[in-house]
């Protein structure tokens, strides 16, 4: 494979394009609503109408507005059909020929779409994720070619530094700096790992990227491997995402066949292989040292850092770990230049961020917005506010490591620093909207239960502290807790945060701390004054014995 081959594939693909395309969303959400049958019937309706030469029915990745799925977009008509059933197919095919249709549509130029800026999701819902040619037609693998042929590894690192990209996994560590550290670490063998263990409940951005545009992640990883001097990559992906796994497997196979992965990529001396590692249901494996233990086939328990993976990672070798969205940002940055990327977003948070918008909100789905977009734009303008006349009470970001931002702070711009100031975190991109029906103490308990169940059990503060914090939250909800119990809860939050071994424990108190900060009255309403009298509301004096095993 050389550049000419790549361009040839692109041209052939573009030349084969038909006058009309019907893009059918084939991501997991729409598939579970029957998208497969929709595509089959569209194929059939097109054939029945004898339009095979004019109409292409293309299965694509996520088309973002998940709540209205299955989605079908007709171009150049620019019609977006929603909640499509297989029976609707003939009617849609009639409509693209100029006829009338009663199939429900929504405005593809509505705020939900118009306020988005696509970098990571540019190919999502456009290219066919199961055909590498489709990705190449969208300028795929050009960046890799350019990097391999025209740039020294240190210049690639330099470009990443200039772009200002920060890790999209949650903590926001500068990506270029991380690449530079791995590149400088001595070692004959180095690894690149893509963290696709999207464990935050309420987050599905990485799943969508992998299902919709797997090659962009592979290309990003290959560029990273070249920059840091690695020849082996792993993608650690959750077993809960079978579609993402099969599409990745297919993408790796196709890329290998074309010589875009494997030995001598683009006929250069650079070799890079990618293997999949399937997670097995452990949230803690999103933590990088635990993830590496898991890749090595061990119990996914974290270890103290330093040494950091960049110095001593997988099997003791320098290892670069970035998450899916970070890698997906790399090809566009290389293609369009770091200055272009650095021109988007805010001073300290560059580029865009993908969010999975869900919960008590009208439009649920996937959005990509420039960093610095106010939360209110996301939840009100794009999300359409709370459904059924409810009032938005809070927005939860960062999953079990994040916090609840109350409605009065909705003018906050989304960037790493602003969310941090409110006791939340950017996180990987889960954004759950809560309305006035939501009990915030129960939300705190929900997340604490999550952390308690997901604690690996290695360090004492996390293993036992989450159990006691969960018990105290439970006691508060049962109206059996006293102000002394509240004080104990707050003290434990501080202790678990300060003393836990890894990020899971260190951030486990965050949802509780943030709800205590903004919704303290909801806690206080549930307290009994002290131990001297019987508890209020006839709650019984004693709690039931808990059995941990």
């Amino acid at each position: 494979m050389i550049l000419n081959d790549l361009i040839e594939i692109k041209n052939a693909e573009l030349a084969g394009r038909k006058k009309i395309t019907l893009r059918c969303c084939m991501a997991a959400g729409c598939l579970s609503c029957g998208a497969k049958g929709v595509k089959q019937q569209l194929d059939k309706a097109v054939a029945d109408a004898g339009l095979q030469d004019q109409v292409e029915v293309r299965g694509v990745g996520c088309m973002k507005l998940c709540c209205e799925g299955p989605l079908v977009q007709a171009d150049p008509q620019n019609s977006l059909y929603i909640k499509v059933t297989p029976e609707n197919a003939p009617s849609i095919v009639a409509a693209i020929q100029g006829g009338q249709t009663s199939v429900a549509q929504t405005d593809p130029d509505a705020a939900f779409f118009k306020r988005q800026l696509f970098i990571v999701l540019a190919n999502s819902g456009v290219v066919d994720p199961e055909r590498i040619e489709s990705y190449i037609a969208a300028d795929g693998y050009q960046a890799l070619h350019e990097v391999l042929n025209e740039m020294a590894p240190k210049n690639v690192v330099e470009s990443m530094v200039q772009s200002g990209l920060r890790g999209r996994g949650g903590a926001g560590f500068p990506t270029g700096l991380k690449w530079g550290t791995v590149a400088k670490s001595p070692g004959a063998k180095k690894y690149v790992i893509c963290n696709a263990d999207e464990g935050d409940p309420g987050a599905f951005m990485d799943r969508s990227v992998l299902e919709s545009d797997p090659h962009s992640v592979l290309e990003g990883m290959a560029i990273a491997a070249y920059a840091v001097g690695a020849d082996q990559g792993f993608i650690y992906v959750r077993a809960e995402y079978p579609l993402a796994i099969s599409r990745l497997q297919l993408a790796i196979k196709q890329a290998k066949q074309m010589g875009l992965l494997g030995a001598g990529i683009f006929e250069s001396p650079f070799s890079f292989n990618v293997d999949l590692r399937i997670g097995a249901g452990a949230f803690v494996c999103g933590e990088e040292t635990a993830l590496m233990a898991s890749v090595e086939g061990k119990r996914g328990t974290p270890r103290p850092r330093p040494p950091f993976p960049a110095e001593s990672g997988l099997w003791g070798s320098p290892t670069l770990i970035n998450n899916v969205e970070t890698f997906a940002n790399v090809p566009p940055i290389m293609r369009r230049g770091p200055e272009w990327f650095a021109g988007i977003g805010t001073e300290k948070s560059k580029g865009t961020k993908v969010f999975a918008l869900a919960g008590k909100i009208k439009n649920t789905g996937l959005i990509e917005v420039p960093m610095g977009t106010p939360l209110s734009v996301i939840v009100q303008d794009m999300g359409g506010g709370a459904p059924d006349g409810g009032q938005i009470k809070a927005v939860q970001t960062g999953g079990p490591s994040g916090g609840c931002i109350p409605a009065e702070h909705l003018d906050t711009p989304v960037d790493y620093e602003s969310l941090g100031k409110l006791g939340s975190i950017m996180g990987s991109g889960g954004m759950i909207v809560m309305d006035d029906q939501t009990n915030m103490v129960e939300i705190a308990r929900f997340f604490m239960e999550f952390c308690m169940d997901e604690s690996c059990g290695k360090c004492i503060p996390c293993r036992t502290g989450t159990v006691q914090m969960h018990h105290l939250l439970d006691k508060i909800i049962q109206r059996q807790a006293t102000p002394a119990d509240m004080a104990r809860l707050e003290e434990l939050c501080d202790m678990v945060k300060s003393t836990s071994l890894c990020g899971l424990g260190q951030t486990a108190p965050n949802p509780t701390l943030s709800t205590l900060r903004f919704f303290r009255h909801e806690y206080e309403q549930l307290l009994r004054p002290d131990l001297s009298g019987p508890p209020p509301n006839g709650a019984s004096e004693t709690r039931s014995a808990s059995a941990a095993s």
Partner: protein
């Protein structure tokens, strides 16, 4: 080997390059509490009792896995650290059934000793009272999960000193427990060589010699130290 100078609690000391804060402190006779560290086996930084404050570092650092750095200013015994250590111990005491009065290790237990030395007179958290079993199937030893604090010393000596790989942790979180082989009764674990290193390593009454009664179970760490020194330094005669 180059020496590093640092201060621990204001005291100027020097330590070998590559030494941990815990080792440096130990040589300077500054005691840092720890439940998972055991001389001779690698450290895991799990119990968090040995966390110390280092000037200029916002996070608390585990003394057992943090290497000394020139000019480091370490504090091992601040009010904040003492408070966290007390809480850690209280959490442990509430986690399983540490009924000291009827424990074989009463009076010879590291958990119990740290509790009184840190001034714990009661546990402020509700006791969990979980149901855990006792494995008495081994000919020589017993394992009482009620007393286990999951420090994994037994696992580490079994794998890295004895090399048998009998013991491991199964499950996770609060459900984690020490197993033998394929979660078999200890007496049926084929790989166990009955060397007893795990029993010597245990900080509490979780692992014990059969036949010891309450308050009788003393540990003999010298055997572990002997074999580690023997292997590392080729010194096969005990120094005293």
């Amino acid at each position: 080997m180059a020496a590093k100078t640092l201060t621990i609690n204001g005291l100027q000391i020097s330590a070998e390059e590559g030494a941990t804060i815990l080792q440096a402190a130990d040589e300077a006779n500054v005691k840092i509490p720890t439940l998972c560290h055991l001389d001779g086996v690698y450290d895991v930084g799990a119990c968090r009792l040995c966390l110390v404050e280092v000037a200029g570092v916002p996070k608390l650092l585990p003394a057992c896995t943090t290497k000394v750095v020139e000019g480091m200013e370490v504090k091992t015994d601040t009010e904040r650290l003492r408070k966290y250590r007390r809480m850690t111990l209280e959490l442990l005491l509430a986690e399983r059934n540490h009924v000291c009065a009827v424990c074989v290790a009463n009076g010879h237990c590291e958990l119990q000793a740290f509790a009184w030395s840190l001034g714990i007179d009661h546990v402020r958290y509700d006791y969990c009272f979980p149901k855990w079993s006792v494995d008495n199937t081994h000919r020589l030893f017993g394992m009482d999960h009620n007393r286990c604090i999951l420090c994994t010393r037994c696992v580490r000596v079994c794998w890295h000193i004895e090399g048998a790989g009998t013991k491991n942790v199964s499950g996770r979180g609060g459900h984690a427990r020490i197993i033998s082989d394929l979660n078999q009764p200890w007496g049926e674990a084929d790989s166990c060589t009955s060397c007893g290193k795990c029993v010597q390593a245990c900080p509490t009454g979780a692992l014990f010699h059969k036949g010891s009664t309450v308050a009788e179970m003393e540990r003999d760490r010298s055997k572990l130290e002997f074999i580690v020194t023997a292997r590392e330094k080729k010194q096969w005669i005990a120094s005293d």
